[in-house]
């Protein structure tokens, strides 16, 4: 049971990166359906750098600190670049957000496939990513549940908490939300809508990029899996499920992680039953979506201007 919870936390953090990133993005009014592509491309960039670093200095001589930090930074930058493409089309060229996002996912998938086909070994670094905190083994269930994770898990929690505080407790967060709710108003109030949309979306995409790396290095111990895209779609679902709040996202992501892993921990389960359990995250997301729309609590609605581009001189 403890093992199940711990594993769910690990899986959940992949979702949390994606959903935190997408929440930031959506709060600024961008429905970025390129998230799956961004997550997988982010992971691919990170892994490629790890491979390059490993082959440059020799796998046995890598510095653990650099082996961890370098891919994280590169995944983040990779995600930001993908976000930059998205913003260039949706903000600067006023292109349709759904269309742009879907193309971005195609691009991300393509880039990933290409990069991974040229990248050979990066699994050696997984042990640095999954190194638990000290005393994790000595403190029984407590250690297992709270201290046994690698750096990316704690980073995800930190990012989610910081994002939540920024969104709800700071001036910048207020401005971001205003841009997503009503860009014309934000503009009139002197907020640079274009800059806010660019920066927020790029940072959100960067965070999602780290999520891809988390999936490969932390959850899969460095083996490559193309299911990373499915994680991206689940992360979008999680944004809705948590009604656009990164702090709820922490619990939501663990819940999604539990649903994702449940079948592996339930004894004597058939493949077919596994499939039904894996359907649950989507089903509950739809239910949450319907309930929030039916209750019409204004605080729980999607940002009012989500999915729409803004052109100041539109009449």
């Amino acid at each position: 049971m403890i093992e199940f919870l711990a594993q769910s936390v690990r899986t959940g953090m992949t979702f949390l990166y994606g959903s935190t990133g997408e929440t930031l993005t959506e709060k600024s009014g961008h429905l970025n359906l390129g998230l799956p592509g961004i997550m997988s491309a982010g992971a691919a960039f990170g892994c490629a750098v790890e491979y390059a670093y490993g082959s440059a200095v020799g796998k046995l001589y890598v510095n653990p600190f650099i082996a961890v930090i370098l891919p994280i930074v590169v995944s983040f930058i990779g995600g930001m670049l993908m976000g930059l493409i998205y913003c260039f089309f949706t903000v600067t060229l006023h292109a349709n957000q759904n269309v742009t996002g879907l193309i971005l996912t195609t691009l991300g998938t393509g880039l990933t496939g290409y990069i991974i086909s040229k990248t050979h070994s990066f699994a050696f670094a997984a042990k640095y990513f999954t190194k638990p905190l000290p005393f994790a083994k000595d403190l029984g269930w407590f250690g297992k549940l709270f201290l046994s994770y690698g750096i990316l898990v704690y980073l995800a929690l930190a990012i989610a908490i910081i994002s939540s505080i920024i969104l709800s407790k700071t001036r910048v967060g207020l401005n971001i939300r205003a841009v997503g709710e009503n860009p014309a108003t934000a503009d009139a109030a002197g907020i640079n809508v274009t800059r806010y949309r660019y920066i927020t979306t790029m940072i959100g995409s960067g965070i999602a990029g780290i999520g891809g790396l988390c999936y490969i290095m932390d959850n899969l111990f460095g083996s490559w899996e193309y299911t990373i895209e499915a994680m991206g779609w689940l992360a979008i679902a999680l944004v809705i499920f948590t009604v656009w709040k990164p702090n709820i996202g922490i619990f939501g992501s663990i819940l999604f992680g539990m649903l994702y892993n449940a079948s592996a921990y339930i004894k004597n389960i058939s493949f077919a039953q596994t499939d039904l359990i894996e359907m649950l995250p989507y089903a509950v997301t739809i239910i949450v979506l319907i309930i929030t729309s039916a209750r019409k609590r204004r605080e729980n609605q999607p940002p009012a201007h989500l999915g729409l581009s803004y052109f100041r001189e539109d009449r």
Partner: protein
Amino acid sequence: MRSKTETKKAHEPLFHVVKRDELSGIKSILVRAIAILAAIVVSSLVVVIAEKVNPVGYFKSMFRGAFSTPTLFWSFLHEAALLLCVAIALTPAFKMRFWNIGGEGQVLVGGLASIACMFYLGGKVPNVLLWVLIIVSGLLAGAVWAVLPALCKAKWNTNETLFTLMMNYIAIQLVCFCLDTWVKSGSGVLEPMHGYGLPSVGNKWLLNILIILALTVFMFIYLRFSKHGYEISVVGESENTARYIGINVKKVIIRTVLISGMLCGLAGVLICGGINHTISTTAAKGRGFTAILVSWLAKFNPLYMMLTSILIVFFQVGAIQVKSDFNISDVADITTAIILFFIVGCEFFIRYKIVFKKHGHKEAVNND
């Protein structure tokens, strides 16, 4: 006295963007043509540089993908037709500003329903009856998948983009579930049930292509000349106007999305019941998403969609051919994405123009 004013130096912005009235037909076609050409150049450059492929060979290979043998040609046409079919299906919803991005799921459940008919009834009922059941169940399944979000949209204004997106993944899991239930070996691969598929005419692709062509013409007429099509336009343009003239907006939304889902279901029937005779989670091949682009690029005009779907499929099959001819990594998705980005980006130059400012007098630059 007021220091604020001095902190900012007076200089004019380099350029600013204004909305165009409308670009004439020829010019707008020219902009798009240039964009497509540029896209081809850039995407081929990417492949040529990244994989050191000889450029002439690259283009030859691109064309070989679609035209080198009759089989490839027919299969190319058929691929384009299937993509077209999904685009046609999504179009009425889009025209109504209902963002149905659940085409993927609606296609899948349509296919799943038809395969279920074949699996449970194949050999037990006469083939003609089976065919009818395959088609009817597929249409119904697609319709159900689409109408759930529409009902919630009509009743509570639930965000349809997110709802239909989630329905895609429920559909995928449903297919997994059925496959794991049906296939006792646990491989999750259902052997094609060739005996029970829909009939064919000429070769195995022709009938599907003809059906889809007929559908395209039908949809063009439906949207342009029927009262329903007119109502769709009015609701899409302005719900207030629709109410003002007494259109029942909810009814129109549900009816239109029902049609949209049914036709997606039909695409699933044609793919699974007509050609593959089996189903997998990837049976829809992302067409539900690509079709959004096809429809949107064609400005929701079914006749233009024939062109846009052929264009996109041409690049897709070309890229696959390039991959096998030169034995390089898969770059199909990258080149497709580059081309699509160019086409989407060029719309900007059709709708807006950039005005450069130089020493007080302005200079309009037409980007064509």
